[in-house]
């Protein structure tokens, strides 16, 4: 049991990061904090993929006679794309927050909802 827990320590940490992100995302009313939570949530997934590719005792995947075991490079490559997507999402989110701030003069979700209902 202990071995199972210790052996998967990277996954446990990833789950913690993911849950912190998701919790921030759900519980905060501040739009900036929501975006921060979203970014953490995405980062956790990126970490998850990178962990997947790691092979025990494996080395960087550059073919050389000295090494026999290589880590899987594919997940890391995939994550390059995912990071780009994540950055784009966050950037777009920031842009929206700026526009929301301009037109509502607030970035608190409950205040914005109230303003919308009054209108």
């Amino acid at each position: 049991m202990l071995e199972y827990v210790a052996g998967h320590v990277n996954y446990w940490l990833i789950i913690v990061v993911m849950m912190v992100g998701l919790y921030t995302l759900i519980s905060r009313t501040n739009l900036m904090k929501k975006l921060a939570g979203l970014a953490m949530f995405q980062t956790a997934v990126i970490l998850f993929y990178v962990s997947l590719g790691k092979v025990k005792d494996g080395t960087v995947p550059i073919v050389d006679d000295a090494y026999e075991i290589y880590s899987n490079p594919l997940p890391q490559v995939l994550m390059l794309t995912a990071i780009v997507v994540g950055v784009a999402t966050t950037a777009l989110g920031f842009a929206l927050v700026i526009r929301i701030k301009e037109s509502y003069d607030s970035i608190e979700e409950d205040e914005i909802n109230k303003l919308d209902q009054d209108a």
Binding site: L38, V45, V85, A88, T89, G93, I100, S103, I112
Partner: protein
């Protein structure tokens, strides 16, 4: 030759979008967008004609062999979806000629059309690719551009709607990504066909179920399947008219397509039948139909009403899928097509009303039917299609859907379908009544009294787009051969018949 065409569907908008973004001239950017859409539509047509009798067109990106490289494998379903998406792009392109300048600052039109083309690119990419990670990337391309497009709506609620969609959409996409990761961990592959082929070798792993649930949740969010639809009404309700038309007719449809691929091609049917997924989807579909219809009936704004109606219509499609029979699947795929036409037509009508009256509230639109009878007539006709009155496209799908439910003696499903339709009468009639009956007070159109010469009348391009849609509603309701054969071929292929 056709192989090369497939990649062009993605490459053309990919190249033209940044070019469009440079310009600020509305006419020029509009012309580029429309021509790109038309070219894509033509290519999709050629491809569909090629694959409709069961052939496959395969394109390997960069010449890499699958499963290592990314592969585009086109069968009738891919081509059908691509045709719907590009066809709707053409119609909304025609519509936007007058609508976009009235709703979007002209200095931004280059960016607007660039985002539109990117969205088209993303949706077409999803429809074509055979690689599940590539699918995720296209999903995000289309989603990101649609967040941007929605936020361009004139009211400030568009911003919050877009933000809410961004949060939920990203959660959905990330769920999908997690699922793909688990599946990759189990199978070591990202190629859909490859995974499906070797499925039995790793099907016992716990990972595979987890992957399935994550993928399913992610798609359900993107497809706005009840109860994960909360982002949809505001997003479609506050988006610029052109965007409402395009997204309502395509975005959720493409997500449903992904659902079909995952359920029928990626995972074996028997596998998820054991997980009681068909029953779950059936219940969600039925509840979604009734919930969406009732909520649509309660709305007082035409675009939100139509958006809630979309939730209900997605429910019909989900029911068709969950019935797991040839008739049911045919109905579902056919409804992808039919609902795209109907909803596009109705949103075009709503767009014309916005253009003329500067309002989407039904109470502000009283008596508009008298001053614009042709628009009113086309909208009423599309509304009747939504109800499923015979002689229209909506009827054809409802018929097959009911037939599929009756074949399996699922009477509760039959009940849900018909009760949903009765509510559809109620909400469509809200629009008809509002437009048809005169109001006592003078209507103010853009702060000008009705009947004043300063009010822009609906332009020819808008009328053309509207009537293209309305005529399609009638034509494909009477002469169903083309969509039915395509949908039936798809259903047979998915069920492996």
């Amino acid at each position: 030759m056709t192989e090369q065409l497939t990649i062009l569907l993605v490459v053309i908008p990919l190249l033209s979008a940044p070019i469009t973004a440079i310009f600020k001239n509305h006419l020029l950017t509009w012309a580029i967008t429309l021509s790109v859409s038309i070219v894509c539509f033509a290519i999709s047509g050629v491809i569909l004609a090629e694959v409709i009798d069961g052939k496959h067109v395969i394109y390997e990106l960069g010449g890499w062999r699958p499963p290592w490289g990314i592969e585009y494998k086109i069968d009738s379903l891919n081509a059908f979806i691509a045709l719907i998406v590009s066809g709707i792009a053409v119609v909304s392109g025609i519509f936007s000629f007058r609508s976009a300048p009235s709703e979007i600052d002209t200095t931004q039109s280059g960016l607007f059309y660039a985002a539109f083309q990117l969205c088209l690119l993303g949706l077409l990419g999803i429809a074509l690719t055979g690689d599940i990670f590539n699918l995720f990337v296209f999903l995000e391309i289309s989603s990101l551009s649609s967040y941007a497009l929605i936020s361009m709506g004139r009211k400030r609620q568009a911003l919050t709607a877009s933000f809410a969609y961004l949060i939920l959409g990203t959660i959905g996409a990330t769920f999908f990504l997690i699922g793909v990761g688990f599946l990759y961990a189990a199978s070591g592959s990202l190629n859909i066909a490859d995974i499906a082929e070797r499925f039995s070798s790793f099907e016992d792993m716990q990972l595979v179920v987890t992957a399935f649930i994550f993928i399913l949740l992610g798609i359900a969010l993107k497809a706005a399947i009840f109860p994960l639809h909360s982002w949809l009404p505001n997003a479609y309700g506050f988006a610029p008219s052109t965007v409402s038309i395009f997204l309502s007719a395509t975005a959720t449809k493409v997500s449903i397509y992904v659902l079909l691929r995952v359920l029928f091609d990626l995972y074996p049917i028997a596998y998820w039948q054991e997980l009681l997924i068909p029953q779950l989807l059936l219940v969600l579909g039925c509840v979604g139909v009734i919930y969406g219809s009732v909520r649509a009936w309660q709305q007082v704004e035409i675009k939100r009403l139509l958006a809630f109606s979309s939730v209900a219509q997605i429910g019909y499609i989900v029911i068709g899928i969950a019935l797991l029979t040839e008739t049911g699947l045919t109905a579902a795929v056919l409804h992808l097509f039919n609902h795209a036409i109907i909803k596009a037509t109705l949103f075009i009508g709503a767009g014309i009303l916005v253009y003329r009256a500067n309002s989407t509230k039904l109470s502000d639109l009283r008596g508009f039917g008298a001053s614009m009878p042709w628009t009113f007539f086309a909208m009423a006709f599309a509304g009747l299609s939504l109800i499923g009155v015979p002689g229209t496209v909506g009827f054809v799908t409802k018929w097959y859907l009911l037939e599929a439910a009756i074949q399996q003696s699922k009477w509760i499903v039959v009940g849900a379908i018909v009760i949903g339709s009765v509510f559809a009468i109620a909400y469509v009639w809200k629009i008809v009544e509002a437009l048809y009956f005169n109001s006592k007070r003078k209507i103010h159109i853009q702060h000008v009294k009705s009947g004043d010469i300063n009010i822009p009348s609906a332009s020819k391009s808008m009328g053309l787009a509207l009537w293209l849609g309305a005529i399609a509603c009638l034509y494909f309701g009477l002469f169903t051969n083309i969509p039915f054969n395509a949908a039936n071929a798809v259903a047979k292929a998915l069920l492996g018949m």
